[in-house]
């Protein structure tokens, strides 16, 4: 109770100060009379993906061409929700599988994996600056990844040349997996006209606390 008068004094002072502040004119508005509501863009890029979770010997990362389209809705001049969809080309990695051979050293079987991805995602992005020609942005969201793994298996090779090896069943192919992953992205929009822009950025999606898919994109778009 002893602090009540002090609190009342601060409250009165706060009203005085905020009253003065609100009495001031608003800052210069840089918002256009007809602000953009939508943002559509298409992009191409390069994807690097980590497959080390598979746990076999050989390459971990593959890289391939990627293409995507996106549509965004401005909630405020700075905040935008966006959905995007994309596809990639086939990225190849080489792996070696160890096969047991009773009474003899193991046999190794090479595998060539060809990965192809499709993604669809939704996120929220913050766009810096007001009504300028250059706008950096940053954001994140969730994307669903469909990964198709096609495997080609050349003839196995063993420790004894010429020895007839048993016929191991080939690995199932193609295998399709789905995963939902968080992503973060950053980049910039550089306007080349009032409502047309070039956009480039980098996006990383995560699994088990590490980046597994990183894609660098560049493309064009427009505000509608």
């Amino acid at each position: 109770m002893t602090n009540m008068p002090l609190a009342a004094a601060f409250l009165a002072a706060a009203f005085l100060i905020t009253g003065t502040a609100t009495a001031q004119q608003p800052a210069i508005s840089l918002a256009p009379a007809d602000p953009a509501r939508w943002d559509i863009a298409g992009s191409v890029g390069w994807l690097g993906a980590d497959t080390s979770a598979a746990g076999t010997l050989g390459d971990d990362w593959y890289d391939t061409f990627a293409g995507a389209v996106s549509i965004g809705r401005y909630v405020t001049p700075h905040l935008k929700t966006e959905i995007h969809g994309g596809m990639t080309g086939e990225g190849r990695i080489y792996r070696v599988e160890e096969l047991p051979l009773p009474g003899a050293p193991p046999v190794f079987r090479a595998q060539e994996h060809y990965f192809r991805n499709a993604t669809i995602g939704a996120g929220v992005f913050y766009q810096f600056f007001d009504n300028q020609w250059f706008h950096p942005f940053a954001g994140g969201g969730i994307e669903v990844l469909r990964e198709r793994d096609r495997v080609e298996v050349p003839t196995p090779f063993g420790p004894v040349p010429g020895r007839v090896l048993p016929a191991w069943p080939p690995p199932p192919s193609p295998q399709v997996t789905y995963a939902a992953r968080p992503f973060v992205a950053t980049g910039f929009k550089w306007y080349v006209a009032e409502r047309a822009f070039v956009r480039t950025g980098v996006q990383a999606s995560f699994s088990n606390h590490r980046a597994t898919h990183v894609v660098w994109t560049a493309g064009i778009g427009a505000d509608l």
């Binding site: 002090l6 004119q25 840089l30 256009p32 191409v44 550089w190 480039t200």
Partner: protein
Amino acid sequence: MKVLPALLLIITMATPSFAQTQPQGDLWRAFAQKVDVGTRVKLRLDDGQRVIATLIEANDDGLFVQPRTRVPVPVQRIAYQRIVSFERDEGRGIGAAKAVAIGVASGVGAFLGTLLILIATID
């Protein structure tokens, strides 16, 4: 009894801003009325906002400017007492923003070019 000193302290801290900005406003008025209309000017306001604009008119009531934006915005009035800094924007040199833009454009161009070459080489 503790209330009065606290109030006095707060009001004392708040008051000098009026005492200082009012004469400053007069100075900016005098200065602005000597600048040619159509001049590109750089302004900094008391809320920290910085803007590059075209001077449309400077009269006794305030400064009328059109901010230089990508999508044009209406002419706006600024009260002189809100101006913290006001200077002609000579636009000399390429400037940091322009340098960044050129660098970025070169990077994007190189990236797209490389990408097109890679796409062309895909079987």
